[in-house]
């Protein structure tokens, strides 16, 4: 479920300390943040198809990792890894990764599917929360523009699948996506992956 305490602390902006690539030396945040790179790319700029995590919001990163840790979000390997970190370490890595620049994915996207996805995005009112291209002003709503299509597809399919655990804050996604067909989910993923 959505972690209220965590959100309040993050929103209070108490974590605004700089945590750049490493020019600040081996801070605790940098050391823990760099462990993700083997699967998510240097500084979280994945070359795909595992998701780009560098440049996502602190709140989204921290609440997602906390959900993997406590088993409220289905994953393949992330629950097993999430359980290895303390809440403080999760905040450290989130702060570090959030301070990195967002680098959009480089895997080519099926243009026809992306075009279809754009119409589904409009028809379902996705922009209301996710903005016109999948960039939301809300801190616990992740950037999707330029994210990898495979990852977005898997994640949306989990929202559709009532047997899979999802955080409380994402229940709205389950409601929104349940009536959407698998093919249309694929098209939506292509649209966001191709968006700037």
């Amino acid at each position: 479920m959505y972690n209220k305490k965590l959100g309040v602390v993050l929103a209070a902006g108490l974590l605004a300390a700089s945590a750049s690539a490493g020019a600040n030396g081996p801070t605790a945040a940098a050391i823990v943040g760099h462990t993700c790179a083997g699967c998510h790319g240097t500084l979280g700029a994945s070359v795909g198809p595992a998701p780009v995590i560098g440049g996502l919001s602190e709140m989204y990163l921290a609440s997602t990792m906390a959900a993997y840790k406590d088993g409220t979000r289905f994953g393949t390997v992330m629950e097993r890894l999430g359980r290895g970190y303390t809440p403080g370490e999760i905040l450290d890595m989130s702060k570090f990764l959030a301070a990195q620049p967002w680098v959009s994915g480089k895997i080519p996207v099926d243009a026809k599917a992306a075009e279809k996805g754009k119409t589904i995005h409009s028809a379902n009112g996705c922009a209301g929360c996710h903005g016109p291209t999948g960039i939301s002003p809300m801190p616990n709503t992740p950037r999707m523009a330029g994210q990898y299509a495979d990852y977005l597809y898997f994640q949306m399919m989990d929202y559709k699948d009532a047997k899979k655990a999802i955080p409380g804050a994402a229940m709205i996604m389950r409601n929104m996506l349940t009536p959407v067909s698998d093919d249309d989910v694929k098209a939506l993923a292509a649209f966001y992956a191709s968006a700037k």
Partner: protein, 427 residues
């Protein structure tokens, strides 16, 4: 559910302050630049060099590697399966040079671990403030009677990716339907613990695609259990029926002798004559480490497992397959995070920053088919005994009996693992 408690908050606020005040390197005018020499440019060494430079942009970091191009051993099983070519495993060091590192293509002949002076075949002598040594593994020739370098030309090991991989691939491609391929698997510890079993699956994929459905693969093992065993057993059966058979040590799988000329593996009880014989022999740590006194009686390199500083020499760090790291396997991801811990400690020593805690993880995928992946993961901490162990409750293998959708996802994320980890090394 997890919540952040007050103690975490205070700790965090403290850490945030520390970043702002002591984070910047305090290098005075005219002060000599710190020098760091990294030996070995693989999964551990390339990362150690890159991240040392990232932490201390001012430092002079030199990476010494004997090969001009690096060939990744992880994912070389996919070449045997026909899913991947050697080009996709081959990298140059140009990306690291662009980061301001010096890459010296040369062979290290000797290291004075007290003065931290490195002598190379090319006649260079480099003195460093800190050394990071990552020599990897070597094949222990002769450990199995009859299996020496010449035998490997007939019965390839293919455990160092390169010409050996291509030789084995060629033999698999030429194998007749109904033929027998034998894989000889070593006792622990060895590099890439799930590797021999993933290899069996990739070879089965190759044989199946070629229509050789009567071919058999037999693994003769020097041990009675292996990494991700339940998952491999399930995945072999699902993808390839009865094509793959595993024989453990107590079932007569321990190979006592190899006759490479007749492609025969001899166990205590039987002789197995193969059409293709793949011998994965025992390893030892890179010879240079033993030569200069970095190893102990086990033949591997003892280190402080919180910092990866050698127990044999101050200011010398050993990372990757050659070091002793408690519960961490000899895997690419383990090497990656060990190298980052060593880099952080070297940087901390240069900048006067104390490193409170190491962060060490492992994530390792095996691809049993193009759409069938499994994984093992671990997060480690140093126990009171100074030995790395799993953080309680974390890590483990993919669920046994999981739906195919999960296996498919892990195949996608397995390939993604490879894409990202080599990008972390070489760009």
């Amino acid at each position: 559910m997890s919540t952040m408690n007050r103690r975490d908050f205070v700790k965090l606020a403290g850490a945030a302050t520390a970043v702002g005040t002591v984070g910047f390197p305090m290098v005075g005018f005219g002060a000599p630049k710190a020098s760091v020499v990294v030996i070995g440019g693989g999964y551990a060494g390339a990362i150690a060099a890159k991240y040392t430079k990232l932490y201390v942009p001012d430092a002079e970091v030199t990476l010494i590697e004997r090969k001009k191009e690096y060939i990744s051993h992880p994912f070389s099983n996919e070449v045997l399966g026909g899913e991947r070519d050697m080009k996709s495993l081959t990298f140059t060091y140009a990306g690291l040079e662009k980061r301001g590192l010096k890459v010296l293509q040369d062979e290290v002949l000797d290291i004075d671990i007290v003065s931290k002076t490195v002598k190379t075949k090319g006649g260079k002598s480099l003195k460093a403030d800190y050394l990071i040594v990552a020599p990897g593994i070597e094949i222990k020739w002769g450990a199995i009677p009859g299996y020496g370098q010449e035998a490997a030309e007939l019965a390839p090991h293919a455990w160092e990716a390169g010409p050996q991989t291509l030789l084995l691939k060629k033999q698999i491609d030429a194998m007749p339907d109904g033929g027998l391929l034998v894989i000889v698997a070593p006792a622990n510890p060895f590099r890439c613990p799930p590797g021999p079993y993933e290899r069996a699956a990739q070879i089965a994929a190759n044989l199946t695609h070629a229509g050789k459905k009567k071919a058999k693969i037999m693994i003769l093992d020097a041990k009675d259990a292996f990494s991700k065993q339940a998952l491999f057993t399930e995945g072999w059966k699902h993808n390839y029926g009865d094509m793959i058979q595993w024989v453990g040590a107590s079932g007569g799988g321990k190979v006592m002798e190899i006759d490479a000329k007749t492609l025969t593996a001899k166990t205590e009880f039987d002789d197995f004559k193969a059409n293709v014989l793949n011998v994965i022999p025992p390893h030892r740590c890179g010879a240079i480490a033993a030569k200069v006194g970095l190893t102990d009686d086990s033949g591997w390199c003892p280190v402080n497992q919180a910092t990866f500083e050698s127990k044999k020499a101050k200011g010398v760090y050993v990372v990757g397959d050659s070091c002793i790291a408690g519960a961490m396997p000899k895997s690419g991801y383990a090497a990656n995070t060990q190298a980052k811990v060593a880099a952080a400690n070297v940087a901390g020593a240069i900048l006067g920053m104390k490193i409170e805690k190491p962060f060490l993880t492992n994530t390792c995928y095996s691809l049993l088919a193009h759409d069938y992946g499994i994984s093992v993961a671990g997060v480690y901490e140093v126990g009171a005994d100074g030995v790395l162990a799993d953080v309680k409750g974390s890590g483990g293998i993919s669920p046994v009996g999981a739906p195919l959708d999960t296996r498919k996802r892990e195949s996608v994320y397995g390939v993604s693992w490879y894409n990202n980890i080599v990008s972390d090394m070489f760009t």
